[in-house]
């Protein structure tokens, strides 16, 4: 037991010291001779249209020049969902002392005028709009604002709103269990990697979307490749948000669901 504590302290100190050593290697902020200030930014601004065929420079940098980076960012999202489950599934013994001692939120729900608002109707109007907007953001990520991450967050937000308002017995569509949502979140990085491997099949490099073996022009191939990659990011982010929500709800029980 003592050895375990020593090992824990050693790991914590290492994690604290390593960033301070590593940050010394980074260039100073505002240094005119560093790579981003001297040539990298100019290269992106000049060559984005001719090399990537995408009007949105942010998307072309994220999914093209730094595609490998974004792939492991999606993996990090998935791992964060797993970490939340691992932490929250460790249930304390004196659970009733920590939670639900008394619940002031349920006794006082505010002025009585809010009870006359029909929340089901509100949700049924708002939710389709948010979902349509999420699909728009996903498919136009190459042209306009947003991309895979924002679309996934919007879809996850729709699920959150649904859970907040609709009671559990009426919530029969799209009701995932914790295990299923984690496994679907894991397919996000997988879809991303498949989008990269499609370029390898056509004889190109990893993540070279112009080499996808389909009889279409190169700019269209490029947008199809970006779409596959962004669908992967969307699935990963959406299911990670749902996973964290499910983990919280398993730990904390709700009064609305008991009646």
């Amino acid at each position: 037991m003592q050895l375990r504590r020593v090992i824990t302290v050693l790991i914590m100190v290492t994690i604290l010291v390593v960033p301070f050593v590593a940050f010394r290697v980074l260039p100073e902020i505002g240094d005119p001779n560093s790579a981003p200030n001297s040539h990298v930014t100019d290269y992106y601004i000049e060559h984005t249209i001719s090399e990537c065929n995408s009007p949105n420079m942010v998307t072309s940098i994220i999914v093209d020049y730094r595609a490998f980076d974004t792939m492991f960012e999606t993996t990090v999202m998935f791992l964060s969902g797993v970490a939340v489950i691992l932490i929250l599934s460790n249930k304390p013994k004196k659970r009733d002392d920590m939670f639900r001692k008394f619940n002031p939120c349920t006794t006082n729900t505010g002025p009585s005028i809010f009870k006359t608002v029909n929340k089901d109707v509100m949700i049924s109007i708002i939710e389709p709009l948010i979902l349509i907007y999420a699909i728009y953001v996903l498919f136009h990520g190459e042209v306009s604002l947003g991309g895979g991450f924002q679309a996934g967050a919007l879809i996850g937000m729709t699920y959150l709103l649904d859970v907040m308002v609709v009671k559990r017995k009426d919530r029969d569509i799209f009701n995932y269990s914790l295990e299923r949502s984690v496994s679907v979140a894991g397919t996000g990085p997988f879809i991303y990697a498949v989008g990269g491997i499609l370029g390898l099949i056509g004889g190109g490099l990893f993540m070279e979307f112009e080499a996808i073996p389909l009889p279409i022009e190169a700019p269209e191939l490029h947008s199809i490749g970006i779409l596959i990659v962004e669908v992967g990011v969307t699935v990963g982010v959406m299911c990670t948000i749902i996973t964290i929500l499910k983990a919280i709800m398993d730990r904390v029980s709700f009064d609305d669901d008991n009646d």
Binding site: K101, G147, F149, I248
Partner: protein, 78 residues
């Protein structure tokens, strides 16, 4: 434009102080949402609408998480 940025940054400082010294957790969570809202405006003013979009969505989601946990936590600092 510079004046607008200065106003927004001062708003951020004021919100942070009110979060630190707030007594009611529920009000603190709502004020935290206002923090992310003002940050969103800052990103728009600085010319980064992509980041502003992300900040808006993530601000809402984190607030909902906080509210769902708060719904069943005993409010100690009342």
């Amino acid at each position: 434009m510079l004046l607008l940025q200065a106003l927004l940054l001062m708003g951020l400082i004021a919100i942070t102080i009110s979060i630190i010294f707030g007594k009611n957790i529920l009000i603190t969570v709502i004020v935290y949402n206002a923090f992310s809202f003002i940050t969103m405006f800052l990103y728009i003013v600085m010319g980064a609408p992509d980041v502003a979009f992300t900040e808006a969505v993530i601000g809402v989601i984190s607030t909902v998480y906080f509210l769902m946990i708060l719904k069943n936590v005993y409010r100690k600092s009342k």
